[in-house]
């Protein structure tokens, strides 16, 4: 998945697992940017009685680089506190939860928001209520209007924030991709599937009817850009204290020391399929400003060779480029520096020469409000408001990245390269209609979380 369970260590620590990051000019409020950081992946909506929540012991952050050095010029910090109303019941709720202050809700979570920038540390909000998880029609009636919408808060600087459960918006056929890259729609071309006689089939969305926890922030563009620099670099992190000691009676933890980064996310799928196994945990601890050390994995992605080999002989040009050791300057540009002007007519999200895995958003490009293309810049026609110009909640980043790695973007830097015709068929067979429920047209854009009663076996 985009970055769910993408590295060995963080896969054992879901509350700190950064799963997706989004950054886009808000389609309904184009003077603002919406930033979303997702955590706690693959939630079965029926996962009670201890439903999902943020970690009180995790520091969640959204970072913004405004000047191209891959260092955070602005950081929004989110810290959570859980309050148990009645410790003498096993129940998450003792009756219907009809409001965020409902006494029937036994395990509430609150959070603070702090902005750190060159002018100092600014507390923007505290004791902000999260909504409960969506349990079912008896426990969480009128979820969207009575519980989720009241959990959208206005911060002291006028920004808007939400933190809580949402429907998973990222769609991917995990079952096929991690079964030897067997993309179902073209599995008759997969050398392993061909041997079994498998024929083309429709994609299956592995995240359908699953939930996730989101931190969403909507901020005026002027608050997160530098003067005459409309392109920002965004990444999210989760950090834990350096030391934790578990009490041997009661199971309580004692935490000590400074926070240390345990998870991060800029572009989707990078630690998933670009960074090799031996570097994944390390990658999660590193700051983007140090990403030059990983540049060779972008320049010579293992996945390109796998596509050429597994779908041989359908990618002869890609195979030739891999065999020749071609440096994938196209991927380095798209993923590590942004695309300089002059490469794609009328478009740039270049931040400078510092190589860093950031989600780069040119905030001067208006949102596409009529028929946005989930394939973004790789769409036909191209949609410059979509990935890799930031990332919208519905963007088909799996197809975009698979096609880019298969050579679709290589002609941008090497006009002599002809992409293989089979690139157009690369897809896991999913679209932005694959999620179980609709996206929202307004903040926080990710859909209402699926409830456990109606989705008991997701």
């Amino acid at each position: 998945m985009s970055s769910h369970r993408e590295a060995p260590e963080i896969s054992k620590d879901p509350v700190a697992d950064s799963t997706d990051a989004y950054a886009f000019v808000s389609p309904d409020k184009p003077s603002t940017v919406t930033l979303i950081a997702n955590y706690v992946p693959l939630q079965n909506p029926a996962g009670g009685p201890n439903f999902y929540e943020f970690g009180d012991d995790v520091l969640y952050e959204i970072h913004i680089d405004t000047d191209g050095n891959a260092e955070p010029d602005i950081t929004y910090q989110f810290r959570f506190t859980t309050r148990v109303g009645n410790p003498d019941t096993f129940l998450y709720n003792t009756g219907p939860i009809t409001s965020l202050s409902s006494p029937a809700w036994n395990r509430k979570q609150f959070y603070s928001v702090t902005r750190v920038d060159r002018w100092g540390v600014h507390k923007l909000g505290k004791d902000l209520a999260c909504p409960p998880c969506n349990i079912g029609p008896l426990s969480t009636p009128n979820y969207a209007t009575a519980l989720a919408q009241p959990a959208v808060h206005t911060l002291s600087d006028g920004s808007t924030v939400f933190a809580g459960q949402r429907a998973e918006g990222f769609y991917v056929d995990l079952g096929s991709i991690f079964d030897l890259l067997n993309l179902r729609p073209i599995q008759e071309l997969n050398v392993f599937a061909k041997a079994l006689g498998l024929m083309s089939a429709a994609g299956v969305n592995s995240t359908e009817f699953l939930n996730v926890h989101s931190i969403a922030l909507q901020v005026d563009i002027s608050k997160i850009t530098a003067h005459k620099r409309p392109v920002i670099g965004v990444w999210t992190t989760a950090s834990r204290r350096r030391v934790g000691i578990r009490d041997d009676h009661g199971g309580e933890w004692t935490w000590s020391g400074p926070e240390t980064q345990v998870s991060r996310l800029g572009n989707p799928l990078i630690n998933e399929v670009v960074i090799p196994m031996g570097k994944k945990d390390y990658w999660n601890t590193q700051h983007p400003a140090h990403d030059k050390q990983f540049a060779r994995f972008y320049a010579h992605p293992e996945l390109a060779g796998l596509i050429a080999a597994i779908y041989a002989p359908n990618f002869p040009n890609l195979q030739a480029a891999v065999t020749a050791g071609t440096v994938r300057a196209d991927l380095e540009a798209v993923l590590l520096t942004g695309i300089p002007s002059g490469i794609v007519p009328g478009f740039t999200n270049f931040t400078g020469s510092v190589q860093a895995d950031l989600l780069r958003l040119n905030t001067s490009i208006p949102p596409t409000t009529s028929s946005p293309n989930p394939l973004g810049l790789l769409g036909t026609p191209a949609d410059p408001a979509g990935f890799p110009n930031g990332r919208r909640v519905f963007d088909d980043v799996v197809t975009v990245e698979l096609r880019a790695i298969a050579g679709a973007t290589l002609p941008l830097v090497d006009p002599s390269f002809t992409p293989d015709a089979a690139i157009a068929d690369i897809s896991d067979g999913l679209t932005d209609t694959s999620p179980g429920g609709p996206y929202l047209t307004q903040f926080p854009y990710l859909g209402v979380p699926y409830d456990g009663y109606d989705h008991p076996s997701a």
């Binding site: 204290r241 350096r242 030391v243 934790g244 000691i245 004692t254 000590s256 020391g257 400074p258 926070e259």
Partner: protein, 88 residues
């Protein structure tokens, strides 16, 4: 957490107000200060907050000391040896 604490020659201990990290950091390596046991701690260190010591290497006395959100690395062979003995 405390990764490496189980390796040979290392010990991890959690104590309350073990000692001032700042004082320990300024102490010459290999010289424990017996008087420290009776030292009057300043109020900000005697506040009951946990001090966690990770002895990284008993032989050279390298230790990480954590208190609140701070972390300092100190070198004190005698103190590291005392802690290792106390862990037996």
């Amino acid at each position: 957490m405390l990764r490496g604490a189980a390796t040979a020659g290392a010990a991890g201990l959690a104590m309350t107000a073990l000692a001032s990290p700042a004082l320990a950091a300024t102490r010459p390596a290999g010289h424990a200060d017996p008087a420290a046991d009776h030292e009057q701690l300043p109020d900000h260190l005697a506040d009951g907050e946990d001090v966690v010591v990770h002895v990284r290497d008993v032989r050279n006395g390298e230790m990480d000391v954590y208190r609140g959100t701070s972390h300092v690395r100190v070198q004190d062979r005698a103190l590291a040896a005392r802690l290792a003995r106390a862990s037996q």
